[in-house]
Symmetry: C2
Subunit: 303 residues, 2 copies
């Protein structure tokens, strides 16, 4: 997908003006989205209840990013949102961050727009949810806005069920299609394929899950339309995931079902540690390890 | 440690003659070592016993390596030895393989002696043991003989306890020192440091375990002495690990202890998938995925 870089427009004064606007608005939106998502997940915990204890709740932990290239070492930071041991959500990590600084030379080839100027600014929300019930699918979502001498949006949503239900698969893909179609009639086919390509484990010759959408380097020239699409992806996530969870969370399961879920989670850990760009990139650039590895399952198994 | 390549002698007729001899003897020894190790582990399962079922046993599964550069696609193969769900050993994988073929160009920089001739031959034994009892340490051993236009031995043993006991730590390091001292008075200091350097997780700023020994590119000019050292490492493994397991396997443990072991195993999986040369190299070169990922824990956790 490297060729997709070519479609990014070179920066110009108009884009710069829009960016100044978004550098406030994007982080504000990601924080609002984090609140909405965590609220939705806590509401579902309330609905499920628990025979012996209070419903699980999110814990929020802020962190700072040190960057020696910046005044006062201030490279931005983020907030880790983590709920563990829920009746519905065994582990849900919903993180936001807004960071800035300079890329080291080894990343110039990988990050568009850093060839002549290494400075970057990035803001985003990233989440991974590992449910307790093996019949409730795991999910991952990421939405981000990145600015170098170029500017673009990226993100995606993908679903990882342990057991396949046609109804869930169809509803999920339809929700992804709807949000893309409202943005651009060509978007869905492209972003779906990109997702299938990306979330694949070559050494297992298997997909991580059932896919969804994945997009990067989005800059149509209309930054407001692009940002609205990013917001719509976040909202679509809330709607479809709440629906799928409520449909499956009361379904009875046994230890065989659970073990199959743990094996599926082992594959999930393999993908994230072996292939995921964000994970490897973050760890190799002294990112916040706790935030980056939030995606790993609470428990996983290998047979 | 790339500079260590420089110490390898260029191939000459004398070495070639020795190699022909070793191409039979090394695989024979690795097969014998596999038998001895599995026998030791099964004996310990017998000693421990189980209240409701027969002691766990190894299952052996041969596999073939396809290599289109070779006559009849015959790139060698190996045997996976796996024991699971034991009273003492939750998962023990003891693999041998003898493979040959041609490296693709992208590995010429990484593998000494392939600059002008891509053919290779490699034979070895690799094991990882994840015990049931959190007080029994996990262990990894690898011994291998590799031939390109150069020839060398490599391998090592390292221990990963969840709970530290000075007695175990001291006995283990002493065993490693003894086997090295009998080979070369300078070996232990070098191989211990190499091990500490290698089994380290930079993103956690922590060691995978307590270290041990790690060596590669060994070719002193006396191929028989080098091979004897490799054999001594295998024998030392059997003696010290049997001793440590028998010392701890009856120690009582609770679910908190077990959870700490699962967290430690999560770090183990992180290391193997993010950094381990053998794992990444094997997966990127279409190795046998089951054999390569045998090292992953049966169950692991992330908090």
């Amino acid at each position: 997908m490297e060729s997709a870089h070519a479609s990014l427009p070179q920066s110009d004064p108009t884009i710069k003006t829009s960016l100044i606007h978004l550098k406030d608005n994007a982080p504000t939106w990601f924080a609002e989205l984090q609140t909405q998502i965590c609220s939705m997940l806590e509401t579902i915990e309330d609905e499920m209840g628990h025979p012996t204890r209070l419903p699980a709740r999110f814990d929020f932990k802020p962190w700072k990013r040190n960057d020696p290239t910046q005044p006062n070492n201030d490279g931005g930071g983020g907030t880790i949102g983590l709920m563990e041991g829920g009746a519905v959500f065994e582990k849900a990590g919903v993180n936001i961050s807004t960071v800035h600084g300079e890329f080291s030379k080894e990343f110039h080839k990988e990050i568009p727009g850093t060839e002549t100027d290494p400075t970057f600014w990035a803001s985003g929300l990233s989440l991974v949810i590992h449910p307790t019930n093996p019949f409730v699918p795991a999910i991952h979502m990421n939405t981000r806005h990145i600015v170098t001498t170029k500017a673009w949006f990226g993100g995606g949503i993908d679903l990882t069920p342990t057991f396949l239900f046609d109804e869930d698969t169809n509803d999920f893909h339809k929700a992804m299609r709807d949000v893309c179609d409202a943005y651009n009639p060509d978007a869905y086919a492209k972003y779906k394929l990109w997702c299938d390509d990306y979330f694949f484990l070559p050494h297992r010759n298997e997909a991580r899950g059932i896919g969804g959408i994945f997009f990067d380097y989005i800059n149509s020239g209309d930054i407001n339309a692009d940002f609205s699409f990013l917001k719509a992806v976040g909202t679509a996530f809330i709607d479809i995931y709440a629906k799928l969870v409520r449909r499956r969370m009361h379904q009875e399961w046994n230890m065989d079902d659970k073990y199959k879920q743990l094996i599926k989670r082992g594959r999930y850990a393999e993908f994230n540690l072996l292939y995921d760009r964000g994970t490897r990139f973050g760890l190799m650039t002294n990112g916040n390890t706790d935030a980056i590895l939030m995606s790993l399952p609470p428990v996983a198994a290998w047979s």
